[in-house]
C-alpha cells in the first residue's frame, strides 16, 4: 500500500476549503466569546470610532468645523477603510503568535491534516468581519453627523466592489507574508503587524495626500498597493473628492485596477514562496513550538 503524502493531501481544494472554514469559525470564537454579544458590539464600535473622532476633532479645531472641504472627506474615508489593513493583515500574522505563544497549539495544528496558509488566512477572517462592521459604522457616522458626502445613488458600485475584493485579497497576501516572518521571529513579536500597518498608514496617503510627504519619501507611497486601493475606493464612493487631489490624476480607473491587480498577484506569489520558505526554516530550527514566555 502506498503511504499517503500529507503535503499533497493538504493541498487539495477540499482540504483548503475545510481548513479555511474551520479556522474562520475558530477565529470568530476567539475574537467574540470573551464577553456577551452586546458588550462585544460596543467594543467593536467604540475603538474605531474614537480613532476617527480624533481626526475629526483635529480637523475641526483648525478649520473651525468646515466639513464641506474635500480634504475632510479624503481624510475620513481613508482612515475608515484603513481599518481593514490593521484587521486583515495583523489578524493573519497575529494568529501565529496566538497559537504558538498563547494557546501553545501551533505544533498540534502542524501535525493535523490541514492546509496551513488557508488556516492562517481563515483566522484573519474574524477580524475582517469585525473590521467590516467598524468600517460600516464609521462611514455611517460620518455621513449622518459630519457631512461626509457619500450618496448611495451616486456610488460606482461595480468599481467599489471590485476594488474592495482585490484589496482584501492583497491585504491577506501581505498578512501571509508577515505570518511567515512571524514564524521565524521568537520573543513574542506582537509589534510586527502594528509596525508594518503604522508604516503603511504613513506612506499610503490614507489620511493625507501623498503630496504632503517630503519629495524623497513619496516614491514609497507609489509602490505600496494600499495607496492605489484607497484611491479606487475614494473614486468609487466620492468621485469628485478624489479628483480634487492630484496624486493619481493621470491614471484612469482601469489603469488603477490593473496596477492594484498586478501588485496583488506579485504579493500573492511572494507570499506563497516566502511563507513556504519561512515555514521550512522554522521547522529546521525547531521554532514551530517555541514558547518564549514574553
Amino acid at each position: 500500500m502506498q503511504p499517503t503524502n500529507p503535503q499533497t493531501t493538504n493541498n487539495n481544494p477540499s482540504s483548503i476549503s475545510r481548513s479555511f472554514r474551520i479556522a474562520t469559525w475558530l477565529g470568530w470564537q476567539i475574537e467574540s466569546n470573551w464577553t456577551d454579544p452586546f458588550l462585544f458590539a460596543i467594543y467593536s464600535i467604540i475603538k474605531p470610532l474614537a480613532g476617527a473622532v480624533i481626526l475629526v476633532v483635529m480637523y475641526s479645531v483648525i478649520t473651525s468645523g468646515d466639513f464641506a472641504d474635500p480634504i475632510f472627506t479624503y481624510i475620513y474615508l481613508g482612515n475608515a477603510f484603513y481599518l481593514y489593513v490593521g484587521a486583515v493583515m495583523s489578524g493573519i500574522s497575529w494568529a501565529v503568535l496566538d497559537d504558538r505563544e498563547h494557546y501553545k497549539t501551533l505544533k498540534y495544528i502542524y501535525v493535523a491534516p490541514i492546509n496551513i496558509p488557508a488556516y492562517f488566512i481563515g483566522r484573519g477572517v474574524a477580524k475582517f468581519l469585525v473590521g467590516s462592521i467598524s468600517v460600516f459604522i464609521t462611514i455611517i457616522f460620518g455621513v449622518l453627523f459630519l457631512h461626509v458626502d457619500v450618496d448611495p445613488a451616486t456610488i460606482n458600485w461595480p468599481l467599489f466592489l471590485i476594488s474592495l475584493v482585490i484589496g482584501i485579497v492583497m491585504l491577506a497576501m501581505m498578512g501571509l507574508i508577515l505570518a511567515g516572518i512571524s514564524l521565524l521571529i521568537v520573543n513574542h513579536v506582537w509589534f510586527i503587524g502594528d509596525a508594518v500597518a503604522g508604516a503603511l498608514f504613513l506612506f499610503s496617503g490614507a489620511i493625507f495626500p501623498l503630496e504632503i510627504l517630503p519629495v524623497w519619501l513619496r516614491p514609497i507611497g507609489y509602490i505600496i498597493p494600499i495607496s492605489y486601493w484607497l484611491e479606487l475606493l475614494r473614486r468609487s464612493l466620492v468621485g469628485e473628492v478624489a479628483e480634487a487631489f492630484p496624486t493619481f490624476q493621470n491614471l484612469s480607473n482601469p489603469q488603477l485596477i490593473g496596477i492594484l491587480l498586478g501588485l496583488t498577484i506579485i504579493f500573492g506569489i511572494i507570499a506563497r514562496f516566502l511563507f513556504r520558505y519561512c515555514e521550512h526554516v522554522a521547522q529546521e530550527r525547531g521554532l514551530i513550538d517555541m514558547v518564549t514566555n514574553y
Binding site: 470573551w34 464577553t35 475603538k47 473622532v53 476633532v57 483635529m58 480637523y59 481624510i75 509596525a195
Partner: protein
Amino acid sequence: MRLSRKAIQVSNNPFPLPQVFPPQNDAKQLGVERLHKNSGWRLFLQTVIARAYPRIIGQQREKSWLFFDILLPLLSVCAFVFVYKAINAPEDYIGFVVIGGAMTAFWMNVLWSMSSQLYWEKEQGNLALFIITPTSMMAILLGMALGGLLATTLRALVIILLGSLFFNVQYAVTSFAQLFAVFIFTMIALYGLGMMSASLYLLLSREAWHISSLAQEPIYLFSGFYFPIKNFSFWISAAASIIPLTLGLDAMRQLVFKSGPSLGFLSVQVEIIILFILSIVFLIAAKLMLAHMEKLAIREGRLTENRR
C-alpha cells in the same frame, strides 16, 4: 576541620539557598552562616528594586522591543503631523503632536505593563508566587511603576528629540520649575492610577486584554493627546481630567509653546494642585483596593485561574 561529604556538597553549592539548610544548629555544624533576611522597610525597598530591575535591565536585553517601542509612537506622530500640515495648522500644533505622541508611551506603559501586569503574571503562573512571598504587593507594584517609568521616560525623550528634529519644532519654555513639577505629579498620579487598576485586573481573565485595548483610542481622544482639550466643553474636559495625562499634557503645552497659554483648559497652577491631589488619591486608593481585591480574588479562587 574535616567536613562530611554532605557538608562539602553544601559549601560548594554556588547558590546557597536558605531552604536547603537544616535548622541553624546543623548549619553551624556545617560551618555555613545562615543567610540574612531583610524585613520592614528594608524588605520593601529591596522588593521595589528587585521588581524594577527587569523593567530596566530586561529591556536592554531585547533591543528589538526598544526599537519598536520608539518607532510605533513615532509613526503615529509623523502621520498626525502630516494631517496638520495638510490642513495648514499653525506650527505649534505640530509640537503638540510631538509632545502628545511621546506621552502615549507612558499611557501604553501604564495600560499594558502596569494595569494588565498582574493578569500577565497570572497567565504565567507567577501571581501565586508573588502572593506567597513574605513581602508587600504594594512594593511589587511600586517596583513595576518605577522601572516602567524610568524606561519609558528614556523612550519618550527619544521620541521628542527625533520628532523635534524631523519637524523643526520650536519650544519656548516659560518655567522649568513648573514643567518639572507638572511632569513629576503627572507621573506619580498616572502610575498611581496604574497601580490602582492593576488590582482591578486581579479579578479579570481573558477580558483584560480587550479592556486594555479598548482604553487606548478613547483615552487618546478625551485626554487630548493631539489637540488642546479646551476645544471640548468644560464638563467633558473636567471629566477627562480624571486621567492625569489630560491635565499634565495641557499644562506642559502651556509651559513649552508660545500659543500654549491661550489654549489651556485651566491655569498651570491650578492644574499642578489638581495633579498633586490626584497623586495622593490614586496612591491611597491603590493601597486600599489592592488589599480588598487581593482578599476577594483569594476568596473567589481567581489568583490561579487561567481561562485562555
